[in-house]
Amino acid sequence: MKADAGTILTLAGYFAVLSLFTIGGGNSAVPEMHRFSVEVQHWLTDRQFADTFALAQLTPGPNLIIVTLIGYHVAGIAGALVTTLAMCGPTGLFAFFVGRASDRFQGSAWHTALSRGLVPVTLGLTASSAAVIVTTLDFSWVAAVVTLATALTAYFVRIHPLWAFAAAALLGAAGLM
């Protein structure tokens, strides 16, 4: 948890690059964050990563707030700030300049090809995030049933995520996980 300059630099560099490869929203970068912070850097254990993900889900705000918590875990408040800035800065600048020019290419052919081409990639990335989270959790039949039951419920009816989280947390508190 003690922050040294090298760790802060690694956080800054890694998340700045990762932000540019984050397509389709914050959750699609979860597998890559897991690969780097658990497998490569050993900053967190599998269990801590799963906890971090769960805590980020419980916090209101953009999904990519998870990077703040990873940074905090690795290097305290300095780590949290640096990581969040790195995740928002480069893409923010990019969006700023594209946003200024965007009127010119609304509805152009490459614009359509780009957005259509990214849909299946986002789909594969989201599926990967679900798979990575499931595999980082200690396996239990109750957890597997909760995952499947939530998936089926959310597919067929619109539920507020907080209800699903509250029900699952209660099952956990009752000692079933």
């Binding site: 705000g61 703040t68 918590l69 965007s102 299946p120 599926a127 597919y155 956990g172």
Partner: protein, 203 residues
Amino acid sequence: MTSLSPSPQPPAPSATIVPSPVSPAPRRPSLAELFITFATISLSGFGGVLAWSRRMMVEERRWLTAEQFNETYALCSFLPGGNILNFAVIFGQRLRGPLGSLVAIAGLMGPPMLLIMMIGAIYAHYGDLPVLRRMLTGVASAAAGLMMATVAKMARPLFRNRAVTGPLVAIATFVAIGIMQWPLPLVLAVIVPVSIAAAWVRL
């Protein structure tokens, strides 16, 4: 949660009224209003911030028409980075220039950052309590289930389409990232150009 891709419209009863097609905001919101609006969107947004940003921007503040919102959001969802972050940058810039972007981002990220750092501090102390661990396992399991539902909803139109490239790209991405756990930049460097080229050919 489901901030990925244009998800189904949020339940917006009053959106159907659409009083007039006239530009909704002759008055330029102040920097303070920008900050407060994005902070409100952020702190209300549990199930993805998209639904809340639409409600604030289109229905409550009337800063954008429904069409303007859709266009801006479509642009944001194919730019890299968080969709809602890009939205804050572009919207802030249109209203108040560079300072507007900064203020909108600060409103969006500041409050949840403070919150999650407090949560992180609590977790650092009590993270090993068995009951807390079990509750978090429950939450993560449910969150994974919600993501699976999102995947199924996104997959429906894609797999119904006659073109096979969409499903192939989705499956290849899943195998490379979800199963093989290869580095994201390498995988995207190969798969994104292929997928865009396939979409281009089919235009």
